[in-house]
């Protein structure tokens, strides 16, 4: 029996496992490994602080999400040993593999910013990238009626790069609906030049922030947090006061990757940008947030990468050349509050452009512009996620980004 071992049963790993068992030749087994049985619908975390979703809607047992032909093992992993082609579990058991797929994702490292997890952590300083963080932030927002909210991106890359902006848009709508918007200041402090860094998006969306009265502090690389004084300091010597800090902490890869010597200094896995073959180990592939690729860390990326990785794994099994190529394709909804959202679609070489998606001229989704249909799409995505995406079913969409329906304007 030949074996493909997949590490990580998140969006990327679960989807890959469910896809592979359907297409693998006879005599191949898929083993999916994770340490616990809780699969989190991560796009929902954005809505949790505003009370739009409940926790129960966002978690499902991993055991329910995998095809029964997949062997799901819930265990703590000690390390990967590429030289022995096996994965060692804590307790001494080893699982041999012929091919290894790393879908170990990313995690937040709030302790990487001095002072962030000190005084005020989870009372006046919150993240919304974990279930506990988003819930604590929900309670904090509930009791917040006046003052300055600073959303700070500590360092790039982060998961879901538009989430900080979405959080601010939703906060604007949230406090407006409570009639308290004029007493709440909203600030984005980002290490980027500004909220938008690409020419078309800056031109089309630049006015949106002023219109929503969201202040942007650019080129702000946070060096330390003084939780007691509620103050951020930047490497270039600036200070920024807050009443409530919403941090998007530094991200890094999984510990197991670093422990196994497979990642770079932040635990990201060196991966070929097109074939998704891991360059630090043989017979190994990576997808999703875990890679060091300059594509976005987002579920849609994992999905499009899955479309590339499936044929490439089959090719590797047959000892053929890896011919499927990932083009950096990403698309994602951007919630803008007041029942509207935007959609962006781009890849390594093409910046987000305006237009209609997926049908040119018709849509129904509007690219780089607000519409209610986009918002409904984002809401309907939850069903799509549980029943189609994670189930590894095919979407009738090309994994390569298409220029049809887009305008260069």
């Amino acid at each position: 029996m030949k074996r493909i071992v997949i590490l990580g049963a998140g969006t990327a790993g679960t989807m890959m496992a469910n896809r592979l068992v359907r297409v693998l030749p006879a005599g191949w087994q898929v083993v999916l490994l994770d340490r616990d049985d809780t699969h989190l619908y991560q796009p929902g975390l954005l809505f949790l602080p505003f009370g739009a979703y409940r926790e129960a809607e966002l978690v499902r047992p991993r055991t329910q999400l995998v095809d029964r032909r997949v062997v799901l093992r819930l265990a703590d992993i000690d390390r990967v040993a590429p030289e022995h082609k096996h994965v060692a579990l804590k307790g001494g058991e080893t699982i041999d593999y012929d091919f290894l797929v790393l879908a170990t994702g990313s995690r937040i490292l709030p302790e990487a910013t001095p002072g962030l997890t000190g005084a005020g952590w989870r009372t006046t300083a919150h993240d919304f990238y974990t279930l506990e963080g988003a819930q604590a932030l929900h309670r904090a927002l509930d009791g917040f009626h006046a003052g300055r909210i600073v959303v700070n991106v500590a360092e790039l890359p982060i998961k879901c790069p538009v989430a900080p902006l979405e959080f601010l848009f939703l906060a604007d709508a949230y406090f407006t609906q409570r009639g308290e918007r004029d007493r709440v200041e909203l600030v984005l402090a980002t290490p980027n030049e500004g909220a938008f860094t690409k020419p078309v998006a800056s031109r089309l969306l630049g006015g949106l922030l002023a219109q929503r009265k969201i202040e942007v502090v650019g080129d702000f690389a946070v060096s330390a947090v003084d939780g007691a004084r509620r103050r951020l300091a930047s490497y270039d010597g600036r200070d920024l006061d807050y009443d409530l800090l919403v941090t998007v902490p530094t991200h890094g890869g999984a510990e197991i990757i670093t422990r196994s010597g497979l990642g770079d200094a932040n635990g990201w896995i060196p991966t070929h940008r097109e074939t998704l073959a891991v360059t630090s180990a043989a017979n190994t592939f990576a997808l999703g947030d875990a890679t060091d690729l300059p594509s976005s860390k987002a579920g849609a990326v994992a999905h499009f990468q899955g479309d590339v990785l499936t044929p490439n794994l089959l090719a590797a099994i047959d000892d053929r050349a890896l011919s499927a190529k990932f083009d950096g394709h990403t698309n994602c909804f951007i919630e803008t509050g007041y029942g509207k959202a935007m959609l962006i679609d781009f890849n390594y070489n093409t910046e987000p452009l305006p237009g209609k998606f997926p049908l040119p001229g018709i849509g129904p989704f509007t690219l780089l512009g607000e519409s209610a249909i986009n918002h409904w799409g984002k809401l309907a995505f939850k069903w799509l996620y549980w029943n189609v995406i994670v189930a590894g079913k095919e979407l009738p969409l090309d994994h390569q980004m298409q220029l049809a329906g887009k305008y260069a304007a």
Binding site: N192, L359, G361, A404
Partner: protein, 302 residues
């Protein structure tokens, strides 16, 4: 014994239902599997065709038409529309009469005469009299008088004199007075559209290497160390060994990733701390390094 039999019978019946359910579900899944490639193909075809329509401007046209429709809707009440409906046959009759070839020919000729209005000399009474000697003018006058007679007849047949119509007529007459008629088009002519600003010539780094508007090199392959030095000089930065090491590391990373390194990536590939980066390049280190290294601006996804 009897209860056992009943249970067995029930189980038997249930198993049939379960089998039916499973069968239905299987069929549904099969349908899903069948439809997926079809949907993919249909969607791909639709995307191609719609894109062609889009690029030809069909959708832009419809959007504009919707704007026109909106203006019409705002300008008309439902009563107006009902009236229009009642009169539609009459209107169509008029259209039919107007679109007869000879009428269209007259309209075309009249329009042609209007186009040369500037060249037309004003006629005094004597010249006008002389002009009536011309056969064509005679025919035209006859026609005009016939038209005037019919209009007059129509107006007389109408009930009361319409003040509004009279006012409009007066205004029209005023507007079309010979002197004003010539002034009118000049006054009303829309200002010629501002000529498109000549595109800013792309700035060039010393050495003539083309740059983008954001101050980054247009093509990383056009970079040399001399170019790097001159960009650094513009930023008031002197490139020493540790700074050069960062520039080289950024360029090497770009060669593999085809993306400009951000701060985290720079600390890794050059094995420095963020603090070091800010000491060497105090303002926006990742962007400054990319600029000097001839790489595109490090960008977020938007």
């Amino acid at each position: 014994m009897q209860t056992e039999e009943i249970i067995l019978q029930r189980l038997d019946a249930m198993s049939l239902h379960v089998a039916q359910l499973v069968e239905r579900q299987r069929a549904r899944e099969e349908l899903f599997d069948e439809l997926t490639p079809i949907a993919r193909e249909a969607l791909a075809t639709a995307i191609t065709r719609l894109d062609a329509l889009d690029k030809q401007g069909h959708f832009a046209f419809v959007t504009e038409l919707a704007q026109v429709g909106r203006r019409v809707i705002e300008g008309f009440t439902p009563a107006d529309v009902r009236q229009l409906g009642d009169a539609i046959v009459g209107i169509l009759d008029v259209v039919r009469a107007l679109t007869r070839p000879e009428v269209l020919q007259i309209a075309t000729d009249a329009a042609a005469a209007m186009q040369h209005a500037d060249a037309t000399k004003p006629l005094g009474a004597f010249r006008a009299l002389r002009a009536t000697r011309d056969n064509d003018v005679q025919k035209g006058l006859g026609l005009l008088i016939d038209v005037l007679r019919r209009i007059g007849h129509g107006v007389n047949a109408g009930a009361e004199p319409d003040h509004k119509a009279l006012e409009t007529k007066a205004k029209l007459a005023e507007l079309l007075g010979p002197k004003r008629a010539r002034m009118l088009p000049a006054a009303a002519a829309p200002k010629p559209a501002a000529a498109p600003k000549p595109a800013m010539p792309p700035p060039a780094a010393p050495g003539g290497v083309p740059m983008r508007s954001d101050g980054h090199l247009a093509d990383p392959s056009g970079w040399t160390r001399t170019v790097g030095e001159s960009i650094a000089r513009d930023q008031n930065i002197t490139l020493d060994e540790p700074r050069w090491a960062l520039i080289d590391a950024a360029r090497a990373d770009f060669a593999t990733m085809q993306a400009s390194p951000n701060i985290q990536r720079l600390t890794q590939v050059a094995k420095v701390t963020t603090k070091d980066l800010y000491q060497l390049f105090p303002k926006a280190p990742a962007r400054t390094i990319a600029k000097i290294a001839g790489l595109p601006k490090p960008a977020g996804c938007l």
